[in-house]
Symmetry: C2
Subunit: 401 residues, 2 copies
């Protein structure tokens, strides 16, 4: 088997931990697998380096920021290669450039365009354990770029896809994906298998484990992903296609997202295209709109409610101020949370949503907005009921069993 393993910043936190990673890598190597290992910078290192760049400028030139930030992974990848070599195994480190990872030119948040895998393939054929600096690539002109948050996961998934690897293992300090946040519900259970789509919907829980960018890429290239801990030998969570999951639970997990804000626009003038204008302006400013609810009033005027990321509230205000003449009022509410029930089994089971509504009503939790997809029901509630709602739903669907 060809396996791509990725070790995060906590796993690579100091020399002793890198030695631990080397031991883990060799456990897999000794079974006879071929191995590409993608590593992050030592935890804290990237923040230190960002701090340096901010010392000189609030908006340091991003090309130079990438030169600085990419160093962290160069160091850890070379150190891991040294550790593996000293234990008697042929190993070599490759920077993003060396690994043939070609990106666009958007510094600090570049997208991988393609990967020249020839060099890695040659090295694997020669028996090397290939250690790749995560989080980075180069443009076709050879300029160093970084991939933004979760970039090392992305490097690993992209390499696994390009190399047609049998498995991509993401090692972190968390031992998998849980039915909900264990800090909220202590009876949360680790999920053994979950589909790409469910994982995407569980984003708010997954954020600590995997960003959506990586899951989307894994889905696109059909890469079986495992997320597990480098500090234990627990099995972790396999993220794969729905077809590979035999027993589909109705509900897989409960997600909570507190970083949402609700925008309520009252009495939007009855003029064609005004809603399109509003959402067009938001899109022009790269403001992501999540749930949208439009209600048509008796007099033909409409109310529009939608949610955005809380951190974009100020920008949204700025963008929407020009519409104040065309509406009665625009209100912003940051004291809300989104609770979501996720499960592929919903497709074939009715009554999932109504059980949620009933349970929340019983706890006197008012649902402000609802949106559903084939495998998800999301509800906006007052933020103060967040944890109670999560625990209630977790128990309603017997996820603790």
């Amino acid at each position: 088997m060809l396996i791509v393993q990725k070790y995060g910043g906590t796993s690579m936190g100091d020399c002793d931990r890198i030695q631990n990673v080397a031991n883990r890598v060799l456990e897999t190597k000794k079974i006879g697998h071929s191995l590409v290992v993608v590593v992050s910078a030592m935890s804290g290192q990237t923040d230190t380096l960002i701090g340096y760049t901010k010392h000189f400028s609030k908006l340091p030139i991003e090309r130079e920021v990438d030169m600085v930030l990419s160093s962290g992974e160069r160091i850890t990848s070379a150190l891991l290669a040294i550790a593996l070599d000293s234990m008697g195994y042929k190993s070599i480190s490759l920077s993003g450039r060396g690994a043939g990872i070609i990106t666009d030119g958007v510094h600090t948040k570049a997208r991988i365009e393609y990967i020249n895998t020839q060099k890695i393939t040659d090295l694997l054929n020669e028996g090397y354990i290939v250690v790749v600096s995560g989080f980075q690539g180069v443009t076709e002109k050879g300029e160093v770029t970084t991939l933004g948050r979760g970039g090392s996961d992305l490097s690993a998934v992209a390499l696994a896809g390009a190399l047609n690897a049998d498995l991509c293992e993401i090692y972190t300090d968390v031992d998998g994906v849980y039915t909900t946040d264990p800090r909220i519900e202590k009876n949360a259970k680790k999920i053994n298998k979950i589909s790409y789509d469910e994982m995407l919907e569980l984003a708010s829980m997954g954020a600590k484990v995997l960003l959506n960018r990586s899951v989307e890429l894994a889905k696109k290239w059909n890469v079986p992903l495992v997320t597990r801990s480098s500090f234990t030998h627990d099995e972790g969570t396999l993220i794969t296609t729905e077809e590979n999951i035999m027993e589909k639970p109705i509900v897989s997990g409960i997600a909570l997202d507190k970083n949402q804000a609700r925008v309520s626009i009252a009495n939007v003038q009855d003029r064609p295209g005004i809603a399109a204008d509003i959402f067009g302006s938001l899109a022009d400013n790269n403001i992501n709109v999540d749930m949208i609810v439009q209600t048509i009033g008796r007099d033909g005027k409409t109310d529009i409610d939608f949610t955005i990321s809380e951190s974009e509230t100020d920008l949204t205000k700025k963008v929407l101020d020009k519409f104040l003449d065309n509406v009665e009022s625009i209100d912003y509410d940051c004291d809300i949370a989104k609770v979501s029930i996720v499960g592929v089994g919903m497709k074939s089971h009715s009554g999932v949503a109504s059980a949620a509504f009933k349970a929340l009503a019983k706890e006197n939790i008012n649902i402000m907005m609802i949106s559903t997809s084939e495998i998800k029901v999301s509800m906006i509630i007052n933020i103060k009921y967040s944890e109670l709602a999560v625990r209630t739903l977790h128990s309603v669907y017997e996820l603790d069993k």
Copy 2:
């Protein structure tokens, strides 16, 4: 003018110091000069990184060591470019690769083979201050290499040579070259101008300021070198061709080297080629022999005395043990020092050496070995008289005046 400036690790020691370097760079830029700035890693950083590599192995693979070590200068060069940019000056950082510095493949102590200057020239023409990561290059195949001790100076001198720069300024925490070590002789004076050859002979003093590799390269490419402090505005020392120095002092400085050992081989058998065998074996083991004195005894047997670097004493013993059958004895003496009088003016003045012998005799300092060149007289003495000898000679040639 095109000026290459190089700032060492102490000058780049933290963000505030990098800001200070940015200010210094702009002083030169504002006069209207074109500028290439070569930087070292933050002081201490390289040692930290070496420490990491040694954590896993006494002899870490050198290719990987180079990947680790080269990061330090990538970081500082990008930070300096950020600082300059934030002050309103177009600036860009280039790694060794980006700067077109092509080396051989001897990792951790590579030699520069040539420099592709096109990219730097283009950037200079566009008005950029070009900041180059010192101490590093790449092989023709693109493998990252580092240049060994003093590598950043070498990068600067080589770039100045390849770019045909008008001046190469080496900024350190020392304000120039002194007539002797000021810690030994408090009346030591800073030298304003000195020839390449004198600088090479003053190596033991110069080591703190400039390694011989850099001076040799500057001489070869006829690059005027200035060594000065980044913390003061003192003028520093200009190192240039002899022809550029109008007033040639008879003696420019007194050098002291305590890291020497004397090997005394008594009664070498009178067999043709045995001396060649001995020195051949030493050369095969890369042991540098400095001074050699051979005395022919009455019975045709000879005594051979020579000096080596003290750190190579153990290796030398190992190499010479096989000759013990052919000689009476081999003795090793580490309690010696080499004191040298250096000056281009000696060429045209007699009596320089005899003044030294007389002065040392007056202080009861026995001279064990003597060697001379056109511009130097070196003497081996007992190490305990080192400082006294330096002060005595410094005063004899009126270097404190």
